[in-house]
């Protein structure tokens, strides 16, 4: 190999030359460049390219395996800034599992590199490894951002890039980068004015420059164009710092980056600084250094302050609010727009003007379906409608930029719609949005009379359905006739597009159709008349509907004009709510299904062939009428089948799951302690009971329906889980096994719980004609129902009906009980409630 001493550097060795020859030639060429003060970016890029050639040759010589493999340059080498004595950082990436053949290749590839005396920083990974983020190795992740394919399968590199470059990975790397930077700067007392600076690590040096570019790359590629320094000056600073660094490497003959006093003299001379005295040359070098370091430092600070923080796919949080990182990409992907509004809500900010104009500019190109093509997108729409702080502002922004009317064309029909009447003060669209604002404010109420409505709202499992109903409740006002019917018709199309579950769909449409009903009854009917309340409760059917309709009425009336909702009206509404709630939960035991009832007739007429009229009538007669409101006809038929041929001590059950919630239906014949035993068995399997109904008909047939979460995944992990549960239930019900025994270990853990609020126990003999009602509100805990009902049974009471509800941490249970067929006497009530109170306090 011949070396040229000319400024043009060495001749490239021929392909096929020995690796040593290629490497030596490359280094010699770089040395020459550095020696004449030209070891900047261009020289390092040339050197990196030469090393690429070397790697490719060694790769070929190592006979790569049949399965795909790629060699990636990382970090500074990836950026083509490989310095004279820098480590060569490589990633050897395999497309499939590393086998014997791959290991052979790895040795054949790495050994020649080691033989050259090169310090190789190598990592070996399979593509599948990138499915999970190596959070404990942020430096590696940062180096991967600069990954560049050097040799091997290009297609594998592309697959790696797809797997690696995700929004969440970028967000994690950015966070890590800022932390690493903080620590590194602290090591230099956070000042760039070091007398002996490290040209790689000091503040304002090369690593900061790379960090600036990385921040821009991860957040906004155009960021630096708007920065404090012209990009050309940043490039010049980089070239300068690289020239100093390569000179240091050449002089020190190792990977040495500290510009010490002694080396400052050598470097200033080699870089050709003018001056007769060393002192003057050094001063000029250092003044250049600080000038460039300051540019880097200012650019980095600018990037840190201005860069949007990635908070979702193509979505960043900036000082102006939520932005699209890449507007061109955003314009093509309307499904991501809703994500911008969700991000704004999640981060308590607004959507930036820039993003809003981008949406406004392109929104007309898309149809409603384009915004939620996938099930995930449809779920995202519902999530966006949760009544949390900021929802009104965001929906208003969506409306202003034309998005809301595109996502819900039905809503567009009432845009700026004026309906003249005596009461309304705003256009229909604004009235609608104000109802949602009022709900949002209700959710945030901490005191005053609004607090009671806040507690209703906080107990809703799916408040977003209420917001959806509010959004659509007046869309029918585009016409002048009965708008509730038209709104319901139009809303049916929306819920169809959103593919809501049947019960969600029914709920939303019910609320829209009847959104005026509760104000009519509360303000225009004599709600002190029990018959009015009874009829209203019968119409509403369930507590969930009641809660939502009550809130809907409140915020709808309030959105008519600032004066419409007086505290007087609020009071009337609250009273109707409480009376109806009490009716639904305490009085339903008095209204039983009887033979001549129209609803029973409907069930009989629609019955499948394998069920007889007699069978259905026998099952239903004497159950509360509410049963038919709670369960669909199909569910009723399933229950009737389950009750077939039931004998004493037998238990028939069915278990099924939907969306992570399990439902257990138990049919058996009544006996003392039955309810408590069933709850105990569920708890002994670790089941967390959320909702349920226990019903008893006059023939002693018991139907219990529980909805619960299987927090320990017992049913999921054990294919025969439900038959195990059945076995235990039968054993316990027939007194072959003792549930107390099964629960002992579990209860001990529960009883150590922390008191969240004091329990409420109240017995009432007036609400129902047949039963003593026991209302219990307590912190939810494993086995709670078991302990409550055990106490009730220990007092010799029969548990006929139970309503079980959970709102967050709160358990709300209503027991309908009798003793020897009659209501409890006052002393009996007192004894029972004080025992219950004690039990609940022990639980806490």
């Amino acid at each position: 190999m011949s070396l040229s001493s000319s400024a043009s550097g060495a001749d490239a060795p021929h392909p096929g030359s020995a690796p040593r020859a290629i490497f030596d030639a490359a280094r010699t060429e770089l040395r020459v460049d550095v020696a004449r003060g030209a070891g900047g970016r261009a020289a390092l890029e040339r050197y990196s390219d030469r090393v690429d050639g070397l790697i490719r040759q060694i790769y070929a010589d190592a006979h790569p395996p049949a399965s795909p493999v790629a060699i990636l340059a990382l970090g500074g080498y990836g950026r083509r800034h490989l310095c004279l004595h820098s480590d060569i950082d490589l990633l050897v990436l395999f497309g499939s599992t590393i086998d014997v053949e791959a290991e052979r290749f790895l040795r054949a590839f790495l050994h020649p590199l080691w033989d050259l005396g090169v310090v190789i920083g190598h990592q070996v990974r399979e593509l599948a490894d990138f499915a999970t983020l190596e959070e404990d190795n942020p430096e590696f992740l940062l180096a991967l951002l600069d990954a560049r394919a050097v040799a091997g399968a290009r297609e594998l590199f592309d697959r790696f890039a797809d797997a690696f470059h995700t929004a969440s990975t970028h967000a994690f790397i950015l966070k890590s980068l800022l932390q690493l930077m903080e620590t590194r700067h602290a090591g230099f007392n956070s000042t760039l004015y070091q007398l002996e600076p490290d040209v790689k690590e000091s503040p304002g040096a090369l690593r900061d420059l790379a960090a600036t570019r990385t921040i821009a790359m991860l957040t906004d590629p155009l960021l630096l164009r708007r920065g404090p320094a012209d990009p050309a000056r940043v490039d010049a600073a980089e070239d300068f710092l690289l020239r100093v660094r390569t000179t240091l490497h050449l002089v020190a003959e190792r990977n040495h980056n500290v510009l010490s006093h002694e080396l400052q003299e050598r470097v200033s001379e080699m870089l050709g600084y003018p001056g007769t005295e060393t002192r003057i040359r050094v001063e000029r070098l250092m003044s250049d250094y600080f000038r460039h370091a300051r540019i880097v430092n200012r650019s980095l600070e600018w990037a840190r302050k201005t860069a949007p923080v990635p908070v979702g796919p193509n979505i960043g949080l900036s000082r102006e609010g939520i932005r699209f990182l890449d507007q061109v990409q955003a314009a093509r992907n309307p499904a991501s727009w809703l994500g911008a509004f969700q991000a704004a809500i999640d981060h308590g900010t607004e959507v930036s003007e820039e993003a809003l104009s981008c949406i406004q500019q392109h929104v007309d190109r898309y149809r409603a379906d384009d915004f939620f093509p996938q099930a995930d997108d449809r779920r995202a729409v519902l999530r966006l409608l949760k009544p949390v702080p900021g929802i009104y502002e965001r929906l208003s922004e969506m409306h202003d930029c034309g998005l809301l009317g595109r996502v819900f064309p039905e809503f567009q029909a009432i845009s700026w719609r004026v309906v003249r009447d005596f009461y309304h003060k705003y256009t229909v669209d604004e009235h609608t949005l104000l109802t949602i604002r009022n709900l949002e404010r209700t959710g945030a109420a901490t005191e005053g009379s609004r607090r009671r409505f806040q507690s209703i709202l906080s107990g809703l499992a799916e408040p977003e359905l209420l917001v959806l109903a509010l959004l659509l409740h007046d869309v029918g006002k585009w016409r002048d006739d009965d708008h509730a019917i038209e709104s319901e018709r139009m809303a049916a199309e929306v819920v169809e597009r959103l593919q809501l579950a049947p019960d969600q769909r029914d709920l939303v449409l019910f609320l829209i159709r009847h959104h005026l009903r509760m104000s009519l009854v509360a303000f225009r009917r004599d709600t002190e008349d029990p018959e009015i309340v009874r009829n209203f409760a019968g119409f509403i059917g369930t507590e969930d509907r009641l809660k939502m309709l009550c809130l809907m009425t409140l915020v709808d009336v309030e959105a008519v004009s600032p004066e419409t909702l007086t505290s007087w009206k609020e009071e009337l509404l609250w009273r109707l709510y409480v009376d109806t709630y009490n009716h639904l939960t305490q009085r339903y035991g008095d209204e039983l299904i009887h033979r001549s009832q129209a609803e029973l007739d409907q069930v009989l007429r629609g019955r499948p062939d394998n069920l007889s009229e007699a069978e259905i009538t026998q099952f239903l007669e004497g159950l509360p009428q509410r049963y038919l409101q709670l369960f669909s006809r199909e569910a009723v038929y399933r229950h009737v089948r389950l009750a077939r041929d039931i004998k004493p001590d037998q238990v028939h059950l069915s278990v099924e799951a939907a969306d992570g919630i399990w439902q257990l239906v138990v049919v058996t014949l009544d006996k003392p302690f039955l309810f408590s035993n069933i709850c105990g068995v569920l708890s002994s399997f670790g089941m967390n009971i959320l909702r349920g109904h226990a019903l008893t008909n006059p023939n002693g047939l018991v139907l219990d329906v529980f909805q619960f979460t299987d927090d320990e995944q017992f049913l999921q992990l054990n294919p025969d889980g439900s038959s195990q549960m059945l076995q235990v239930l039968e054993d316990v019900v027939s007194a072959r096994a003792d549930v107390t025994q099964r629960l002992r270990g579990r209860e001990r853990g529960v009883l150590k719980g922390v008191a969240r609020f004091s329990p409420v126990v109240r017995a009432d003999n007036n609400a129902s004609a047949r039963y003593t009602i026991v209302d219990i509100v307590a912190s939810n805990a494993l086995g709670l129902l078991y302990r409550i009902s055990r106490v009730i049974s220990q007092h010799g009471c029969e548990v006929d009906l139970v309503l079980i509800a959970t709102e967050g941490e709160k358990a709300i249970d209503v027991f309908h009980i009798t003793k020897a067929g009659a209501k409890l006497t006052d002393p009996e009530q007192q004894a029972l409630t004080s025992d219950l109170q004690r039990t609940l306090e022990e639980t806490l």
């Binding site: 303000f523 225009r524 004599d526 008349d529 007086t566 009273r575 409480v578 709630y581 109240r762 509100v777």
Partner: protein, 109 residues
Amino acid sequence: MKMLKAIIRPNKVDDVKDALAKLNIAGMTVTEVRGHGKQKGHTAIYRGKEYNVSLLPKMEVEVVVPENLAEDAIKAIIGAARTGEIGDGRVFVMPVSETYRIRTGEMEL
């Protein structure tokens, strides 16, 4: 002239208004008020907790009628607002010596 001040159930306002309209009494003032008379407040219970409801929502209807119509108007109000239960309300009758029309400043007899 007499001023009639009727405290009635909220849901009876429309009935009272219609009954007075039949007597050609058109002008009236309606106010949302709260209070209690014999129908003392009661205790509302929600989820086992008691809420004391001492003042009940009522409507107050005020009309000024000529002396010769006062008796019929009182009967009309009572007839329209009556349910027979406690809490139907009261009618107060007060003499009015003069009234003035603000727009013109003229006194009406």
